[in-house]
Symmetry: C2
Subunit: 141 residues, 2 copies
DNA sequence: TTATAGATGCAAGCGTATTGCATGTAGTAT
DNA sequence: ATACTACATGCAATACGCTTGCATCTATAA
């Protein structure tokens, strides 16, 4: 058992979730990448790790993780959800129209905008979602 | 034929789309509200207008409208798409966690953020999506 | 009025996501 | 180490959003 896996197991136990092979591997997947994964991607990864999890199980895993606050569910203009670790600092995504690559975007000062909206309209803003679309560096050539 | 309907018909003809009853009524729907509609809502509205359009037809209508630039497709963290008029000035949405009401949000200075991202990361940003979630004025009580 | 490109209805089908139930297993008590 | 039990999983059925093929219908223009 490597360190990373050990960390994953601990993290699961802290949330009162049983550390099953599929869940441990799923956690490891999320910790190894900054690309939000959909259920199919996660299932494929598990399969490569010799863990044959049913799609229903993978859906249950991401729903449970999200409900426990381990991951968060995001939407990138597709008819499916993606998931990524929730413990990252608040950030957004850039998606390339051409190659589909996803890049994290941090340090957007949305709080200022939210404060302004609250003052103008009286809305209590708790969360936001912001995505950018366009061409990545290599696809601009 | 009232003025509004007449406008809708003209708008359709300008885009080389045939002005069928379902399309005219759909245009009228979009012009009468600022709440983004999903296919089911649109279908229900048409039905109330004595126009019984099949779901497939409504899906085709919103796809065609969007393709012709009359409407735009948006996603509000649901596993379905919504549609609204495209000719409004660029704006975003606030969705109440409690009652689901949707409010338009304008005058967000995202361009400044986009310019900063372009300079820092070299990404060419063409569009963005921004939604806020929280509690509307009446649900805060 | 007729001809025809295009729109619709219907049914089949696809992909994502959920759920009920029987079985399997992680965590715990013995 | 063993047995127990609550929880997790596999499997199949199901729901739902959305698309598509094809026959039929119709808005538009000749
Ligand atoms: Mn990310
Ligand atoms: Mn709007
Ligand atoms: Zn690219
Ligand atoms: Zn509300």
């Amino acid at each position: 058992m490597n360190t990373r896996q050990h960390n994953c197991k601990e993290e699961l136990q802290e949330t009162e979730l049983r550390a099953t092979p599929a869940r441990i591997a799923a956690m490891r997947y999320f910790e190894q990448t900054d690309k939000p994964a959909d259920v199919q991607m996660l299932k494929t990864y598990l399969h490569k790790q010799k863990i044959k999890a049913d799609s229903a199980t993978v859906f249950r895993i991401v729903n449970t993780f999200t409900q426990k606050g381990l991951t968060k569910q995001i939407q990138l203009n597709e008819n499916k959800f993606r998931y990524e670790l929730a413990d990252k600092i608040d950030h957004h995504h850039f998606i390339c129209d051409n190659c589909g690559t996803i890049e994290d975007i941090s340090d957007c000062n949305i709080e200022a905008i939210e404060k302004e909206i609250n003052q103008k309209k009286g809305l209590l803003i708790k969360r936001h979602r912001l995505e950018f679309f366009g061409l990545c560096k290599s696809c601009q050539r």
